[in-house]
Amino acid sequence: MPETVPITINDQDFEAPAGAPLIDVIQELTGEEVPRFCYHRDLPVVGSCRMCQVEVEAPGPGGALRKALAISCRTPVAKGMKIWTQTPAAQTARKGVLEFLLKDHPLDCPICDKAGECPLQNFTYQEGQSEGRSVDPRRKRRKRVSLGDVIVLDEERCVLCSRCVRFFPEVEGRTQLQVLNMGNRSHIGTFDNQPLQGNYQGNLADICPVGALTLKDFRFQARVWNTHSVPSTCTRCSRGCAVMVDAYRGRLVRIRPRYDAKVNRSWMCDFGRFQLQDLNLPGRLSGAIQEQQQGLRELPLEQALETAAENLRAEASQSFLLASNYATLEVGQALMELAKSLQTEAYFLKPSAWGGDGILRTDDPGPNSFGLQELGLKALAPDQARERLAAAEASLLVGEKLLPLLLQQDPTAGSTLPPIDTGRTAILVDTHLRSGFALTLPGLTWAETQGRVKNLDGHTRILRPALPGPDGVPQTHDLVQSLCARVRRDPDAHSTPNLQPSGMPV
């Protein structure tokens, strides 16, 4: 722990860690967000935009006190420092910077995806002036530069903070973007106009403090103030990056990283970010379906659960219980209880290693292998699991992505799966109807799920529903609990108080 030293901020006394950047200390201690463009907590500090100036009094090189403007992002806390954020000198300096940044800015906020969550817009409201004084032409620059599959660049909006330039060496260990040319002819570009590469391009849209780098995927999809945003956890690998999930008119429109010091800091990978298609899939199962010789039959959920319970009870310890590693801790717990009631074991599918990138994305697809193992579920490799399933008299398969992972297929492709040998009576909880199962109960995607998962390092993180599931579909852990109660013939099993549709807490 660094030593804490006394300082004052706007004439109030505080204790702050020596050496910490003022910009963070001011925000932590007073809540005031000093405007900034080039500073980003997870990137090397360059101190070039000059937006974060405050007035600081501290001993100068000779020891005498000196009061001067300083950039708060690159000024470390020192003992006895006096800081003022709102003196006329500081305000004028920042206003001046804003005026320069807006001089060439196209002010096309009405058609800009960043509007509403734009630091340039916010800081201008916070402390800029409302009228531009320039009567000279704004510099024309390229409006739509494709930087690869993910990002499109609008040079006119760029404030040259160089966050994107610093991002690649910092996160990927290689340079992709550079400031090209100099002075006001500077612009961002790649070497030789190559497209951006790799699994982390999407982060540029998050760290860009203006609308210069935007996601092709999100372009013109929604105004951000109309989206409903929920903090959750990405489930596409065992890292479990903290995310915000943004929904708009009943569809997911964006997933973006949320700061988590222990897991992903400010970043997430593109594989996790661009999974919306997978989550907005049509053809969702909203009730239970029984497969019979005469064809498919819809069953009321209660009746389906009763049927499932009978099937499992009949085979008891011979039944096979398998969760996908997308299953939450709550689902895992319910399955463990069920296994106890049946005097059998519960398993989870430990998928084949797939797709790690050595940065954030791990090669374990699915968020909860660690947590399920810890609960006592036994790991099964896909081929072992398929064998067991084929041999089982009765089985219960629970969890998102279970079938593709079981079949060692790309779980993200959403393509039709090859048939699978499901033994005699197989029961599936899934989002879509699959053939070969005696009974299919409706499941939820992770973006509709309430629950917890534990990442590869043992950090427990929360999933929160960003969308309601289809009408009448309960949370999967409630479904499994209810099934368990019926297997045990609990007296109140039929009242199923928790078996409510998975409403979205508002």
Partner: protein, 441 residues
């Protein structure tokens, strides 16, 4: 103290004033060359040299006038790390061309002075960063370096001691900003020439992160005469706070433009009328940039100002590199300012928001006024812009330097600007500029 400029010693240029001096090693040695280098290595301690230079009162000739001995004393002792001396010959300031004279005509003086300076700060490697366009001066330096190596004046085990010294030249690629000390280091390291934020300062963390001192060509050249003649002799020339001689590069509307070694404290009027043979075509003096464009200009009535740090500062400008640009009565201050604004707009590195945009904006305003499209609000806006990009708000001193000619032109020639705006054609002012406005505003 105040000898007339004719009697003043020529510490740097005495050889050049002789007929037929070619600056070869043989000629330079015949004039006592490299004796001070030998003396430093064989019989002086680095600390003694630093003290001597402190006593001489030598101040940097690269622009800021920082006391050289003091700068050297910032270098760590026994750091166990390699130390570097960087010799700044980027010389790109408009109006400054004095280092070039030494590089071309007496390169061994530069090498000897640099060698002594390096010894004083414990550096065994010197990089001389030469302005990219200075192809010939660099050839002269390279030739001299080769001669010095061949004569055993550079290299390993010098003069039978353990001391060694290597000197390399490094060409710039044509960017003014690379004369700024930390941009120079970045450029030398093979990166974009972007000034670094300070601290850390070069003496602690310089080129390749090692203790580094950076000095101007003329500054290091003075090390030889200071050792040769002593601190007292150096101090006996010039003024109390600005001792010694200075190379004054005079350009513009005088009869004999050129580089002159003059005692510090010589009045500008004397330089124009006596040293340079008066104004060209008998015109009247209108204004002069004192020490390169970034130091600002003064009007003719200030021609009594003497060329030393204190005197010019009192008039609100700086001595800089003593590049005196003389302008006669026919000169348009607005046009002169626009030419400089064009330069600064082209040369700003563009890291800092205010400097990147402020230079172009300034240029646009000045050009509009010059072309008869000025707005009544322009001067207020321009003055505010200058305020907003200067005063230590940016990473390096470029923006503060650019502010000087703008500020002083507005201050001393307000009438001329106002007149131009008054005469502006109101229709022109409201007509669209040649570049179309972008949509969306």
């Amino acid at each position: 103290m105040s000898q007339s400029f004719q009697d003043s010693p020529k510490f740097l240029t005495e050889r050049l004033l002789r007929d037929g001096y070619g600056g070869t090693l043989a000629e330079y040695r015949a004039a006592g060359g490299y004796e001070q280098w030998r003396r430093a290595v064989t019989s002086l301690q680095p600390a003694e040299i630093i003290d001597l230079v402190k006593d001489s009162g030598l101040r940097g000739r690269g622009g800021a006038g920082f006391p050289t001995g003091l700068k050297w004393s910032f270098m760590p002792k026994d750091s166990g790390k390699p130390h570097y001396l960087l010799v700044n010959s980027d010389e790109s300031e408009p109006g400054t061309f004095k280092d070039r004279l030494l590089l071309e005509k007496d390169p061994h003086l530069v090498l000897e002075g640099a060698a002594i300076s390096a010894f004083a700060i414990g550096a065994r490697t010197i990089y001389i960063y030469v302005r990219g366009e200075y192809v010939y001066p660099r050839e002269c330096l390279d030739r001299a370096i080769q001669e010095a190596y061949e004569a055993g004046l550079l290299g390993q085990k010098l003069f039978g001691t353990d001391w060694s010294l290597d000197i390399y030249t490094h060409p710039g690629a044509g960017a003014y900003i690379c004369g700024e000390e930390t941009a120079l280091m970045e450029s030398l390291e093979g990166k974009r020439g972007h000034p670094r934020p300070k601290p850390p300062f070069p003496a602690g963390y310089g080129a390749w992160g090692q203790p580094t001192t950076i000095n101007n060509v003329e500054t290091v050249a003075n090390a030889r005469p200071i050792l040769e003649h002593g601190a007292g002799a150096f101090r006996s020339v010039g003024t109390k706070n600005s001792p010694g001689t200075i190379l004054v590069g005079v350009s513009g509307h005088v009869n004999r433009p050129g580089v002159y070694e003059l005692p510090m404290g010589v009045p500008v009027r004397t330089v124009v009328d006596q040293v340079c043979g008066g104004m060209r075509n008998g015109k009247a003096l209108k204004a002069f940039y004192v020490g390169g464009s970034s130091t600002g200009l003064l009007p003719a009535k200030d021609a009594d100002v003497t060329l030393d740090h204190d005197a010019v500062r009192e008039r609100g400008v700086m001595l800089g590199t003593a590049g005196l640009i003389v302008m006669d009565e026919d000169t348009s201050i607005i046009r002169a300012t626009r030419v400089l604004a064009d330069f600064y707009d082209h040369e700003t590195c563009g890291q800092c928001s205010q400097c990147r945009v402020g230079m172009e904006w300034s240029y646009q305003i000045i050009r509009r006024i010059e072309e008869g499209r000025g707005h009544p609000s322009d001067l207020k806006t321009f003055a505010d812009l200058i305020q907003n990009f200067s005063g230590g708000k940016t990473i390096c001193a470029f923006a503060d330097g650019a502010a000087m000619p703008f500020k002083t032109a507005l201050l001393h020639f307000r009438e001329e600007w106002e007149e131009a705006i008054r005469r502006a054609n109101p229709q022109m002012a409201d007509s669209p500029s040649e570049e179309p406005q972008t949509a969306g505003t």
